[in-house]
């Protein structure tokens, strides 16, 4: 497969100062690739929520971004505590966020659900005490929802 664009961004867990930096960088890159506004926005939200979760909960992680003619593929891998019950974590309002996270205005338990809503496909794999993997596809062809 020939990629229009592919790149990786490493994210350091606990580095709240930088929270969102990689996502803004990714958004800039996508804008230059002439991704439509709506797709750009959904991708930016997905990446930002993922970045915040790595910073909030994991030790370190990587966001891989690949853009093809018709899809945006985002894969997120982290080394960290993992998620014991994914179904529970996906529920609106469920959060184990610390005070530090809540002070920033986050930790309402909306993030994973927001990622799901903004993607066309989402798969989550997680292993406790190892890490979490998200595999996300956003189709570049807009469709009715």
């Amino acid at each position: 497969m020939d990629w229009a664009y592919q790149s990786s961004f490493s994210i350091e867990g606990g580095n709240f100062e930088n929270a969102g930096k990689a996502s803004i960088e990714i958004k800039k890159i996508l804008k230059n690739l002439k991704i439509s506004d709506e797709i750009l926005r959904r991708t930016a939200i997905v990446v930002y929520e993922s970045e915040l979760n790595i910073i909030s909960y994991a030790d370190q992680g990587v966001i891989n971004l690949s853009v093809t003619g018709d899809k945006i593929l985002i894969s997120v891998d982290d080394v960290g505590p993992g998620i014991e019950d994914i179904e529970l974590a996906m529920q609106e309002g469920y959060s184990t966020a610390t005070d530090r996270i809540r002070e920033m205005g986050f930790g309402a338990g909306m993030g994973l659900l927001n990622i799901k809503n903004c993607s066309d496909e989402l798969q989550i794999f997680s292993e406790v005490n190892k890490g979490t993997h998200l595999s996300i596809i956003i189709n570049r062809m807009e469709r009715e929802s």
Binding site: F16, E17, A19, G20, K21, S23, I24, K27, D37, E38, R41, R42, A44, I45, Y48, E49, E92, E103, M104, G105, F106, G107, A108, G109, M110, G111, L113, N114, N117, C118, S145
Partner: protein, 124 residues
């Protein structure tokens, strides 16, 4: 209505974006919870909040907000304002509380970027 009108209505200070006051504002989203802003705000909205940390600016940038309006007389720190300048997000500050701020803007024709949350969905 543009940012300059809002400055007048709310007796606000322009902290960043003196040159961007012609930006048109039609819709807004008020919240102190960035998780909700991210989940529910629509592009092109003014984000009204009492939070002043730098994360608010990054959230506004991700969402293509037209600007940030800080309520309750709070003034963000230098780092937050520098980030806003870098990301080109206008920042205003008003002494009115969130309720008064929203009410006054609504009375002048600005509406919520969503009216009700019917179904949680980020697509427009």
């Amino acid at each position: 209505m543009n940012l300059r009108d809002i400055v007048k209505i709310l007796d606000a200070k322009v902290l960043v974006g003196e040159d961007r006051l012609d930006t048109v504002v039609k819709t807004a989203f008020s919240a102190d919870l960035m998780s909700d802003v991210l989940a529910f705000a629509k592009p092109g909205s003014l984000i009204i909040t009492g939070l002043t940390i730098h994360q608010v600016v990054r959230t506004a940038s991700i969402l293509d907000a037209v600007g940030l309006l800080i309520v309750r007389g709070k003034i963000p720190g230098r780092e937050t304002l520098e980030l806003a300048r870098e990301l080109d997000i206008p920042v205003l500050s008003t002494r009115y509380i969130l309720f008064e701020t929203s009410g006054r803007l609504y009375a002048h024709g600005i509406v919520g970027c969503v009216e009700k949350i019917e179904k949680f969905n980020c697509r427009q």
